[in-house]
Each structure stands twice: as structure tokens, then as C-alpha cells.
């Protein structure tokens, strides 16, 4: 079969039409024993390229990571992505190309590993590193006062969140802690952390609406 690697432009058959190459990938990976090995090796090459691509994209944000560390992360990411894919092969429905479906696992693993690696020696701040303040150069004194009122109300309402919601909201919104880093420290999943964040956002908006600071139809 022809290996369809990403990075060579868009191939035909995007989104929707089951394509022969994808069906072949799945069939080869479902083989038993030694017949499967070449397909697994080929898939690992694909995943390693995707992981390296992702790590290169994130490298600028983490200049202290050395090249060897980064390539090690790429290999770990490809290994972990491969395990996930083989475990979840039955989830692939052919709604996208197999290579696209597979590469998202490598990107998820690589992105998460880079962020966690970059934060591994850093404390997660539990208090805001800053509180937003009303801009000095607001267009009018009225708008400046309005912004100050809003920020004061927000400060009070953050204190009324549950402990977990406040911890997550403060870390993500004010201290720019990546969600997957926070998930690792809290021994939970990205999805669970994000749910806490979303719940906190909804609660804060509802409280601001009750105070008359946000309009009800925007409360969502």
C-alpha cells in the first residue's frame, strides 16, 4: 500500500468518504501476529513525525528544553499514541482519513508532554499572580468606574466558588497554567479540570447577571 503521510499537502477524500488507504491501514493493523508488525512500524514512523512536528511548534515557548529531551519526548509521545490507537482501533469509523485520526493522538500526547515537562519543576500558584485592574485610560470616568465595579464584583464572586472551581479558575485564568498540567497535579483528567473551569465561568457569569453587571440574555 502507499503510505499517506501528512505534510505532503491535502490528499483527496477529506471528511466523509471512506477511502481505500484508510481501510487498508485498519485491515493491516487488525492482522494477527507477524503480519501486523510492518503496519505497526509504519504507523510509528507516522506518529513520530507528527509528534516531532508538534514539539517543534511548541519549542519556542519552552526554550530551556534541550534538543535531546525534546526528541525523547517525541519518541515517548509516538509510543503512547501507538498504544492508544491500537487499543481504540475499533473507534475509527472512517469519517476522516485514518492518518488524520491517528495523528491527533500523537499531537495530544506530544503537546501534553511538552507542557508537563516545561512545568515539572514549577509550583502551581494557588492565588492569583495578579488581579486585573481597571485601565487608567478608560474612555470616560464612567467606564472606568464601571470596570472597577465589575472587577471588584468578580473578585468577590471568585471567593464564592467551590474550592476546586476557584483553584482551577485562578490557575487557568490568572496564572496561565495549562489545563493538562493542572490535571496531572490534581490527579485527574483534562476533561474533569475543564468541566470545573466551565462550571466556574457559568457560575461567575450568573452571579454578575444577578448583580446587574451582565445582561440576562447573555448569561447563557
Amino acid at each position: 500500500m502507499t503510505t499517506e503521510l501528512p505534510g505532503f499537502g491535502l490528499a483527496a477524500g477529506l471528511a466523509g468518504a471512506p477511502d481505500t488507504a484508510s481501510e487498508e491501514w485498519v485491515a493491516r493493523l487488525r492482522c494477527l501476529g507477524a503480519e501486523r508488525d510492518p503496519a505497526v512500524a509504519e504507523l510509528h514512523v507516522l506518529l513520530l513525525r507528527a509528534a516531532r512536528f508538534e514539539i517543534r511548534r511548541r519549542r519556542a515557548a519552552f526554550p530551556h528544553l534541550a534538543g535531546a529531551d525534546l526528541d525523547d519526548l517525541a519518541w515517548q509521545s509516538a509510543d503512547d499514541a501507538l498504544m492508544s490507537i491500537l487499543r481504540r482501533l475499533g473507534d475509527f469509523r472512517g469519517d476522516s482519513r485514518f492518518t488524520t485520526w491517528a495523528c491527533k493522538f500523537a499531537i495530544l500526547e506530544a503537546g501534553t508532554k511538552v507542557r508537563r515537562h516545561a512545568w515539572r519543576d514549577r509550583e502551581i500558584p494557588v492565588t492569583p499572580s495578579f488581579w486585573p485592574v481597571a485601565p487608567d485610560r478608560a474612555p470616560s470616568p464612567h467606564q472606568h468606574a464601571e470596570a472597577r465595579e465589575l472587577l471588584a464584583a468578580l473578585h468577590e464572586e471568585v471567593e464564592r466558588l467551590t474550592d476546586r472551581q476557584r483553584e482551577v479558575f485562578v490557575a487557568v485564568a490568572f496564572n496561565e497554567v495549562p489545563i493538562d498540567v493542572l490535571a496531572e497535579r490534581l490527579n485527574t483528567t483534562r476533561g474533569a479540570v475543564y468541566k470545573s473551569l466551565h462550571d466556574a465561568r457559568r457560575k461567575l457569569r450568573a452571579a454578575l447577571t444577578t448583580r446587574g453587571l451582565a445582561s440576562a440574555d447573555e448569561g447563557r
Binding site: 513525525r49 491527533k104 499531537i107 503537546g111 474612555p139 464601571e146 495549562p178 476533561g191
Partner: protein, 78 residues
């Protein structure tokens, strides 16, 4: 002025629209990106996805990267 205040609330609090979960987002991420790159109505076919990408920095980073990977030239993917 209400718009300015709403923008400030959005910036401080973040989006609160109904949206997908992170797991649901991951399940359809490949489909969504391919739909977009095929100039099809990704947001109509996968409603609530865009809202999640706006609210979740981690999933949005995955989305950006998968899209960039599919668009990358040969020299960019080693």
C-alpha cells in the same frame, strides 16, 4: 458601552456557551479539521465544537496543530 462591558466580562470570565466536553472534542477533532480544510460547513455539521475550542486552550492547541500538520509542506514534517 454595554458591549464594552460584555467584552470585558468575556475576557475575564471566559465563554459560557453550551459546548462539547474535552473527550467529545477529541473524538471529532480529525473530522472537524478535515471538514474545514475541505471548505465544508464544519460548524454546522459539528455544532458546539467551536464553542469548546474558544473556551479550552489545550484542545484549541491540539486543533491548531492538527490543522497545521495537514497543511504543512514536506520540509516542515521530518
Amino acid at each position: 458601552m454595554a458591549d464594552d462591558r460584555e467584552r470585558l466580562i468575556e475576557a475575564l470570565v471566559g465563554p459560557t456557551d453550551p459546548e462539547l466536553s474535552c473527550d467529545e472534542c477529541f473524538d471529532v477533532l480529525d473530522i472537524y479539521v478535515e471538514l474545514e480544510l475541505a471548505d465544508r460547513a464544519a460548524d454546522a455539521e459539528l455544532p458546539l465544537m467551536r464553542a469548546h475550542l474558544l473556551g479550552c486552550p489545550a484542545c484549541c492547541a491540539d486543533y491548531d496543530s492538527l490543522r497545521a500538520l495537514l497543511l504543512a509542506g514536506p520540509g516542515e514534517v521530518a
